[in-house]
């Protein structure tokens, strides 16, 4: 089964020269896009990749990465609601068909239930004050 995951790879200073992306594509048949990368020789760094391929290959690919002394953690994209920016108007609830963003009928306060969220991202633009965002760091 083809799956898609986001991973964050942490490189130690000594490992910055390893051609990880190349190996993942060539040896494990994984498609990748690099979402973010800041790796410097001598100080290490982090790269965030979107990887897709057969589930088995994804597992083997991650095993390979870890065998090269690179820490790999799987990220899930998540919607983040910032209570400080929120004015509790409810505009986001108009587009949240999964009812992850809800107004309490009694207190009129907005709340966000992460488990209901399918990360459709409709709320991001519907929010007039920029109180909802997507965080790829989970």
């Amino acid at each position: 089964m083809v799956k898609s995951i986001k991973v964050s790879l942490h490189f130690e200073a000594a490992d910055t020269d390893k051609p990880i992306a190349y190996c993942l594509a060539k040896d494990y048949d994984l498609q990748f896009s690099i979402l973010q990368a800041d790796i410097r020789p001598g100080s290490g760094g982090r790269m965030i990749m979107d990887l897709s391929g057969e589930e088995e290959n994804l597992e083997k690919g991650l095993e390979f990465v870890r065998s090269k002394n690179i820490k790999a953690s799987i990220l899930s994209k998540a919607v983040v609601w910032n209570d400080e920016k929120c004015v509790h108007c409810g505009a986001c609830t108009a587009v949240c068909t999964h009812k992850a963003l809800r107004l309490d009928p009694g207190t009129a306060e907005l709340s966000f239930t992460n488990s209901n969220c399918v990360v459709c991202e409709m709320c991001i633009k519907a929010c007039p004050t920029g109180a909802v965002s997507v965080d790829i760091f989970g």
Partner: protein
């Protein structure tokens, strides 16, 4: 029968009974109009909604050598400088030259109220008395002269509920409307909404003191497009709509809690303005209006997919139905979402209640009735 002066005397002596419109609706239901009118002196209201027709006059003071500014940018947002040398008007909906809809006049106003410094960049053609041709500096509220918000149209008495019967998503000033009536939005705080509680404007007029973005502001005039009207429902109940207020108040006294920038996706920039009006309970008639609950306040549902100045009305709904989170539309339950914050409206009504109780907010007798413009004009296209 009480007069405003008698009520103010009670406020000064600390004996006035002040309640929010929600509390007085509940009390009236329980104890009746007569008893409630006797017991309660002041009823407070509140609303916190995007109000596009907003902006502020700023006076920067003079630089050395001085400049007669004829082009002004505030954080790259153009302000109107066609007034005197260092005066300008920053309109809420003006978009940034570099960031477009993401940042605009409303954000400049919010940032100023929050105490932040704003980049001012101004140009001039230079005159004998104002030789300077450009200036770049930063300004913040505390180091400017008079800064007052002057909003030509705020506090809409009532507003339509919006839905979309078309097959595509539309982005409007009423928020994102999903295809085939998959949602509906509305923007009034219902039984807390100031002008719905004194629908015939018996006590609101020019000079009325109001809670305005955290400061004490004043009704300056009838708002633009102020067309108060009433229509009767089948059961004899009434739907009021159409009144608006032009409001003026000191920007320096405002609080970022009650002035917030808004971006309506695909439409543009607006400004959330927090407004509250305390109403004197002059007699039983007025109390009866002040106590009207959401179930007896109505608005019409319009089809916003028709881009015309007269959109079709789909039905009339009560604010109680809207507040339930779902309205019935064409035999289906449609999710209804507000654009104005009920939580903030309550916060304003509660804060105003405290201010009136402690005597820091006295009621006012209007200086004059709001001028009415009974004929509603439309813009005709003529040969030029």
């Amino acid at each position: 029968m009480k007069t405003i002066e008698e009520i103010n005397d009670k406020i000064r002596s600390g004996s006035a009974v002040v309640m929010t419109a929600e509390e007085v609706a509940a009390m009236t239901k329980e104890r009746g109009v007569k008893e409630t009118a006797k017991r309660v002196d002041v009823v407070t209201t509140g609303t916190f909604s995007p109000m596009c027709s907003s902006g502020a006059f700023l006076n920067f003071g003079h630089s050395e050598p001085p400049i007669r500014m004829n082009r002004v940018l505030l954080n790259d947002v153009p302000a109107y400088a066609g007034v005197a040398a260092v005066d300008c008007y920053i309109g809420a909906t003006e978009a940034s030259l570099s960031r477009g809809m993401e940042y605009g006049g409303a954000h400049v106003i919010e940032d100023l109220v929050a105490g932040k410094a704003i980049k001012l960049s101004a140009h001039s053609y230079g005159t004998d008395c104002y030789p300077r041709k450009e200036i770049e500096t930063t300004v913040s509220l505390k180091d400017m002269n008079q800064c007052f918000m002057f909003n030509p149209r705020n506090a809409y008495q009532n507003y339509s509920c919006a839905t979309n019967t078309s097959s595509t998503i539309i982005r409007t000033y009423m928020g994102t409307l999903l295809p085939r009536c998959a949602n509906a939005t509305y923007a009034t705080s219902g039984e807390l909404s100031p002008l719905l509680k004194d629908p015939e404007l018996r006590t609101v007029g020019i000079g009325t003191r109001v809670f305005f973005g955290g400061a004490q502001g004043y009704v300056a005039w009838a708002g633009t497009q102020c067309f108060p009207g009433v229509s009767e429902n089948k059961d004899g109940s009434k739907m009021y709509s159409g009144a608006t207020l032009a409001i003026i108040g000191d920007l320096k006294q405002m609080n970022a809690n009650f002035i917030r920038a808004a971006v309506m996706d695909g439409y543009g920039i607006s400004l959330y303005v927090g407004i509250g009006i305390p109403f004197p309970v002059l007699d039983e008639d007025l109390l009866r209006q002040l106590a009207v609950p959401n179930s007896e306040l109505f608005t019409d549902v319009y089809d916003y997919s028709v881009p015309s100045r007269s959109r079709p009305v789909l039905r009339r709904v009560s604010y109680a139905e809207l507040r339930s989170g779902e309205i019935e539309l064409g035999g289906r339950k449609v999710p209804a979402a507000p654009l104005s914050s009920l939580r903030k409206a309550r916060e304003i009504a509660e804060l105003l209640k405290l201010q009136v109780r402690e005597g820091s907010f006295l009621l006012t007798e209007a200086v004059a009735k709001l001028p009415s413009e009974p004929v509603k004009h439309v813009l005709e296209e003529r040969m030029v």
